[in-house]
């Protein structure tokens, strides 16, 4: 197989980085809270991709394949579920009070 086409860990890392950047741009520039939350999911997924790629690279202490990265990815998915549930809960409470879903209108801590 051609060396250029061989897929190494770095390929996955670059892809992860690209997704991470897209997520960062989304979080920093969009006004709609739902899309901001989705961008956060993108970031978390980019991290997950890196972790799983690393887990293939990291052979464990005795070279038996310890899969720590994959376990981390599972924890991150758990975390993402919790984040989405609470985030969307806040969003609904926010929408009920202000009738808007734009982040830059959340400039009061109290209303």
């Amino acid at each position: 197989m051609h060396a250029m086409l061989d897929i190494s860990t770095l390929h996955y890392l670059v892809l992860g980085a690209a997704l991470f950047l897209l997520g960062v741009i989304g979080v920093l520039t969009r006004r709609n809270v739902v899309i901001v939350l989705m961008s956060i999911e993108l970031i978390l997924n980019a991290v997950n991709l890196n972790l799983v790629a690393f887990s293939r690279y990291w052979q464990g202490i005795h070279g038996t394949g310890a899969l720590h990265g994959q376990v981390f990815a599972i924890f991150i998915i758990t975390d993402a579920a919790a984040e989405a549930a609470v985030g969307l809960g806040i969003l609904i409470a926010f929408f009920r009070n202000k009738e808007t879903v734009n982040v830059d209108e959340v400039n009061l801590l109290k209303w």
């Binding site: 609904i92 929408f95 009920r96 009738e99």
Partner: protein
């Protein structure tokens, strides 16, 4: 419960604000909808699945029956009443004929009255069977529909043999009957009674103790007897709320006082009780039919009625217990061949008033169940 009459729809407090305090969902159920039994249009205001309010829009089947009556002679108007409650055409005709007979101060001969009772009670069976099938279909049980239609077919066959029509029978004439009972009428009716008795048990087997049926109907669309009376609701709906009011007993007409039968009543006024009351009414109808068929007297079938009917000036109100409730005819005569005014008190129209009271705060699925349990026929609501 406050008296519903004292409240306008706006005064009725909504059970809950919408979940998001925001846009409530307004959906338009009907006039083209599989479960509004014709062309009823219900505008539902929903919070998710919960009904916050509803409004019935009727009139899609309005044919001006009452106005037509003013331009027809008494005899000519007779077939029109069949088109109101078209699933219980015989009852409509009975009410109209008796009202005009009252106006003319004649009475149908006993034999005619017995045959009238048999046909009317058969029609009550047919109406209840149709109701049961469609009601069960609305709640999602599709099989009872085919069972009830299979058995209703036997009734329609008897009608067809008797007067040639199956649905809009025009079975009675003012003053009695047009046709003598055909050869073997009694046998057919007896056969039908023995045929249908086990079938009613069959319906009950499918539904009465079915857990899902119980959950879907118990405590759904509850209406108290007091509210029923306040809203003028009659028929099985009223009786299921515990009020023992049946015009066949309360104001006996057409020889009903000669028959021995019971008025089934419920206690809770919910959909399940209405179902049970109607099932029991079917059995009572069979009982009346059995008695009537045993005791058909011989004799004439037509009273002495003038060819050109000119009732004396005056007015009359006559009501009968149609399958759906009190069916009343108010006829004003100015002494001419045509009625000056005919006003029909259709049971479906009046019963439909209770819909909002019964549905408020319930779920969308219950609206369907309640429309079904009210047993409305739009031909009668809109006239």
């Amino acid at each position: 419960m406050t008296d519903p009459r004292s409240l306008s729809p706006l005064d009725l407090e909504t059970p809950d604000q919408t979940f998001l305090d925001a846009n409530e969902l307004v959906i338009n159920m009907g006039p083209q909808h599989p479960a509004t039994h014709g062309v009823l249009r219900v505008i539902l205001r929903l919070d998710g699945e919960k009904v916050m309010g509803l409004e019935c829009v009727i009139g899609y089947l309005h044919r001006g029956v009452e106005k037509i009556a003013e331009n027809r002679t008494y005899t000519m108007f007779n077939p029109y009443v069949d088109r109101m409650d078209y699933v219980a055409a015989v009852s409509n005709a009975l009410g109209y004929c008796e009202a005009v007979e009252k106006l003319l101060s004649v009475e149908a001969p006993p034999r005619a009255q017995y045959i009238r009772v048999i046909l009317t009670e058969l029609n009550r069976m047919a109406s209840h069977q149709l109701w049961l099938g469609t009601h069960a279909l609305d709640i999602g049980a599709i099989t009872p529909l085919f069972y009830t239609f299979r058995d209703r077919e036997e009734i329609l066959k008897i009608f067809e043999k008797y007067c040639g029509a199956r649905l809009t029978t025009h079975a009675f004439r003012i003053g009695g009957l047009q046709y003598e009972a055909y050869e073997g009428f009694e046998k057919d009716v007896r056969d039908f009674v023995s045929f249908v008795k086990p079938k009613i048990d069959e319906y009950e087997e499918l539904l009465t103790t079915n857990r899902i049926w119980l959950e879907r109907t118990k405590g759904v669309g509850v209406i108290s007897g007091k509210d029923c009376i306040a809203l003028g609701v009659t028929g099985p709906v009223l009786r299921a709320s515990g009020v023992q009011w049946d015009l066949r007993k309360a104001q006996p007409y057409a020889n009903y006082k000669n028959f021995d039968f019971e008025i089934p009543t419920g206690q809770n006024g919910d959909t399940y009780d209405r179902y049970i009351v109607r099932i029991m009414e079917m059995r009572q109808s069979l009982r009346i039919i059995e008695q009537a068929v045993e005791g058909i007297p011989e004799g004439p079938i037509m009273a002495k009625v003038p060819k050109v009917m000119k009732p004396p000036v005056g007015e009359v109100y006559h009501s009968i217990e149609a399958p759906k409730g009190e069916l009343g005819y108010f006829i004003v005569s100015d002494g001419s061949t045509q009625p000056y005014r005919v006003r029909v008190r259709p049971p479906s129209f009046v019963n439909l008033q209770a819909l909002e009271l019964m549905c408020r705060g319930q779920l969308v699925a219950d609206v369907i169940a309640v429309i079904g349990t009210l047993d409305i026929v739009l031909g009668e609501v809109d006239r």
